[in-house]
Amino acid sequence: MSTDVAHLPRVARKHYGRYVAAILVVAALVAIVVSFAGGQIEWSVVGQYLTAEAILTGVVNTIVMAVLAMIVGVALGVLFAVMRMSQNPVTRAVSALYTWIFRGTPQLLQLFLWFNLALVFPYFVIPGIVEARTVDLMTPFVAALLGLGICQGAYTSEVVRGGILSVDQGQTEAAQAIGMTRFQTMRRIVLPQAMRVILPPIGNEFISMVKLTSLASAIQYQEVLHSAQNIYYANNRVMELLFVATFWYLIVVTILSLGQLVVERRFSRGVRK
């Protein structure tokens, strides 16, 4: 056997499949763009409404609702995850019940229930603090925030629980050995490490939440889809306005995805790549 080949120049393998796939994909995209460009849709109208005041208000409301509902969701999620893992059987049961109810019913239904709560409780009274008609309190904003946030908490609690379980038991013991309380151990040692596992699915759920806010249009909350619908009810430019909404959802979700990368890097400190 000759050893002359050991140092011959090397030629990498050719990936013909990739070229074929690229050509097919580009062709398909061109076909789609051409058909839409020649279809019954007026692109100038899309451009005109892209920055209409009602649409922009809708975009802001969508972002505000997604962020607030997510904050409520994560706060409840952490709380109920810790309760679920407590040694106290009562808190464990409460947490299980919460997850069962809010994960077991459609979110649109939950929004309707909150929005119509006044039918059950006409007045909302905490003696000495609040005394009001429930109709006045339960605005579309409040109903949407409660509906989306509380339901999100039920999902997030399972994600957080998984994250906490992923942290080695030795970490808790080491924290206790330096005299930390359960609360300190959870906050300083366990949760920061659990975050690395929790964040990717939470980022995912945040992105879902942006789109879930569109459900709130059903209870008159002025998010971007609701604004688009209001406009096309008046001018009949249905597809044009749906494209406007599509554009804004993609923008918001893209920005969030970039933010997710930054945050994930922050919480992977000390992890060997």
Binding site: Q176, M180, Q184, Q193, G270
Partner: protein, 250 residues
């Protein structure tokens, strides 16, 4: 410093500790040896209340661990009281258990700042002294994942010392180390013993036990089989089981 009387521990039907009684005087180094599964580590964990004592009692510095006597009964302490009892007891684990999301320095200052409520500056200055003492001052900013096992264990010792403990517990501190790294950790422990620290060391390092211990306890099957000076237990054991164990490991 430590007094244990007839300590029992069960995990379900599994009876791990079957009545451990021993005493450790202040400034003394006790080495606990014995085969795996003999309950050595469990006993150590009972002293730091990572496990509750089912029967019997143990005292550290005259304070009954985990329980308080009232109306002729023992009442279990709250988590906060147990956390307080743990404070003067430092513990070093087989698998180091450094906090991976914190640098070496952050690991060491965490307890002093959060538990002892020391100022950041005081804690930092002292932490750097301790890291220097274990030979790792230049690694203060390093994350545990970038340190060798021996270095991690030395940071863990510094972390325990930062709580100004009166008693140090070592749970097989060199068992997870590559052989060439064992020496650096034992050197730190030897130095600590020479400084007068009271120590309980669960170990397989019989050479270390022979050299440093004031008292050696041989445990098997949840019981103390033999106890005495290193010479008595390691060189001239009287019990058959001790002899069998020593001949197997030496």
């Amino acid at each position: 410093m430590i007094k244990a009387v007839d300590v029992h521990k069960r995990f379900g039907a599994h009876h791990v500790l079957k009545g451990i009684s021993l005493e450790v005087a202040a400034g003394e180094v006790l080495c606990v040896i014995g085969p795996s599964g003999s309950g050595k580590s469990t006993f150590l964990r009972c002293v730091n209340q990572l496990e509750t004592i089912d029967e019997g009692a143990a005292w550290v510095d005259g304070e009954l661990l985990g329980w308080t006597e009232r109306d002729g009964k023992l009442h279990q302490l709250s988590d906060a009281q147990i956390a307080r009892q743990r404070r003067p007891i430092g513990m070093v684990f087989q698998r180091f258990n450094l906090f991976p999301h914190m640098t070496a320095l952050e690991n060491v200052v965490e307890g002093p700042i959060r538990v002892l409520r020391e100022s950041r500056d005081t804690a930092r200055t002292r932490a750097l002294e301790l890291l220097e003492r274990v030979g790792l001052k230049d690694k203060a900013g390093a994350y545990p994942s970038t340190l060798s096992g021996g270095q991690q264990q030395r940071v863990a010792i510094a972390r325990a010392l930062a709580m100004r403990p009166r008693l140090m517990l070592f749970d097989e501190p060199t068992s997870a180390l590559d052989p060439e790294l064992v020496g650096e950790v034992l050197a730190v422990m030897r130095d600590l013993a020479a400084s007068g620290m009271t120590m309980v060391v669960v170990t397989h390092e019989l050479g270390f036990a022979k050299e440093v211990a004031n008292q050696v306890v041989f445990m098997d099957d949840g019981r103390v089989i033999e106890t005495g000076s290193p010479d008595q237990v390691l060189v001239n054991p009287t019990h058959e089981r001790t002899k069998t164990f020593l001949s197997a490991v030496l």
